[in-house]
Symmetry: C2
Subunit: 348 residues, 2 copies
């Protein structure tokens, strides 16, 4: 019923082997023969059977991309960049690779499940994005999985995620700690002393690193930090809104809020505004990531720019073997402080 290789072979009056070789272009075939085959392919509207091909050749053209939440532009941008780099070998028509995007929702089990599913598909490569979950058992499980994948020939690259000890997965990390430090230093330089911090979910490397950077800056400036000034939440706007309202309750006279990321910052702004506070006259706010929308916020967000697309593109290229892995297999991607309208001197 569906057209197979041998149907094409029959029509072109050659053996199936020859058709396969024409299609893969990895073996010399006389021009006239090739043409005949190509014509037959066209006539019959033949499409290769991927699974059969993958089985026989023991390779696949699937590339997995693990993200926490594809609806979040932070991950969308990276997924997009990875995808644009995973073109197939030789650039042959139709020879492209397919990106399998897996939404883990930040849940450990789903992360492992998807890794197994990708292993089952014999994925050519896997790119893991976003911060990792900090849980000994889970980290060990992930390490084991990544080792298995690597053994099976799947290239593993981490993007914006800390290295996984015990594996030789390439890691492109983000300077979360340094970025947070710069952001807080910026606020301190403006004269702020009572600085609230709306953190991301606990047990996440990204959350911890950013919070650590913040604390480093405070400590370096000799500013004490009361526990009352840190609230945890998730990485979305709603959470930023709620956490900020709570912070405001605990410490009505804070003059600045450091948010875990830009979305959270937007939520924080909304909460602040609702409390009758102006930004930045009454309270300064900073985000993190510099997602596209942060420039359009009211006021535009001071934040820490992360070159997400560039980093992910590089991760994609490394995953495809089109770029050498950095020496040491680990490299930190630099970000940059972007000062916009959401920060200013504290009210007196």
């Amino acid at each position: 019923m569906t057209v197979t290789l041998s149907d094409v072979a029959a029509r072109a009056q050659v053996s199936p082997a020859t058709v396969s070789r024409v299609l893969n272009g990895n073996y010399p075939v006389a021009a006239s023969t090739r043409e005949r085959v190509l014509k037959a392919v066209d006539d019959l509207d033949y499409v290769l059977n991927g699974p059969a091909s993958a089985l026989a050749a023991a390779t696949s053209d699937l590339v997995g991309v693990l993200v926490n939440d594809i609806a979040d532009p932070f991950f969308g941008i990276m997924a997009s960049a990875v995808q644009s780099e995973i073109v197939g070998p030789g650039g042959r028509a139709g020879g492209e690779r397919l990106a399998v995007v897996c939404n883990t929702g930040g849940e450990p089990e789903r992360e492992l499940t998807y890794l197994t599913l990708l292993q089952r598909q014999r994925a050519a490569a896997v790119v893991l994005t976003g911060g990792a979950i900090e849980n000994e058992a889970h980290v060990a499980a992930v390490a084991a999985k990544l080792r298995r994948l690597a053994e099976a020939g799947t290239r593993v690259v981490l993007c914006g995620r800390p290295p996984v000890p015990g594996t030789d997965a390439v890691a492109l990390t983000f300077d979360n700690r340094g970025g947070a430090r710069e952001l807080t230093e910026h606020l301190l330089a403006l004269g702020h002393r009572r600085i609230g911090y709306v953190a991301g979910p606990e047990e996440r490397t990204t959350t911890r690193h950013r919070l650590e950077g913040h604390r480093e800056a405070l400590a370096a400036a000799g500013v004490g930090e009361s526990d009352g000034l840190v609230a945890h939440g998730s990485y979305d706007r709603t959470s930023g809104y709620g956490a900020t309202a709570e912070l405001l309750c605990r410490e009505p006279d804070l003059t600045a809020v450091v948010a875990a990321n830009d979305s959270v910052a937007l939520g924080a702004c909304a909460a602040l505004r609702e409390a009758g506070l102006r930004i930045p006259e009454d309270v300064s706010v900073v985000g993190f990531d510099d997602l596209p929308f942060s420039i359009d916020a009211a006021p535009p967000l001071t934040t820490f720019h992360l070159p997400l697309a560039e980093a992910a593109a590089r991760a994609g290229r490394i995953a495809m073997g089109r770029e050498a892995a950095p020496k040491g297999r680990i490299v930190e991607v630099r970000g940059e402080l972007v000062v916009r309208g959401s920060t200013g001197k504290p009210r007196v």
Copy 2:
């Protein structure tokens, strides 16, 4: 080297057939046997070979999702929703399906290429999101491809995309025309008469429908529309910025701008503000889609809310056969006008 079914079979002292049946759970196996098999699977850390399984069973657990741009939350939200609904049959552990997200960039060839790639993978289903390209040849080519896919047993669902004649693909369409009409009616009701329109790219159904809705409203109100008031661009912020600046040049005294979508509206706001105009005191702005960030814009955007996640989730369920297709195979998803701070009465 890698563990195969028969390795497991050997260890569990059963035939490969039995192992397969335990794993698929589609054939009675004695509890004691099953247990033995499961233990062997666990001991050997066995992972099924997806391609082999797909070949033998002539089915796959891949679901394609075509999007224009996964970095755009409009598509990210839909992709996420589809993905959350494509769980496998019976909810068996590891029995989940994988979402293959294909970024077409709105290019016709890439759309076809990806469709072919998904056909090659024998995808279980394909969900096409976003507006379609209006080009006779392309539409015909897509229709042919969708027919082929359907023949091969791949379920095809369109989400936010007009039906494709000549196929029986289920279509969940968005009310782009009606939404645009409501938006413009809202502006007209406020008293606006000189309304600029920043349209999306040409040859796109979404662009055309929204523009038509806008014109319908103008016509119904007896307001003439000069060509000078419409500018085309892409669906992003930058484009909205540029097009608005241009519009402002051509018609300095316009009092409202209708944008093709929220991102474009944000760009429009930026251009307006740079021209020294206040929103909405001097110029009102409306977006479309009601993406999460539009509530945080300055000022919050009046826009037309599209239930993207709900629609895409439904599309996913229909694609998986977990929900019956709507009768007629076509249904229009309703949206809703959301009035926020970016619109007001025109200046006098």
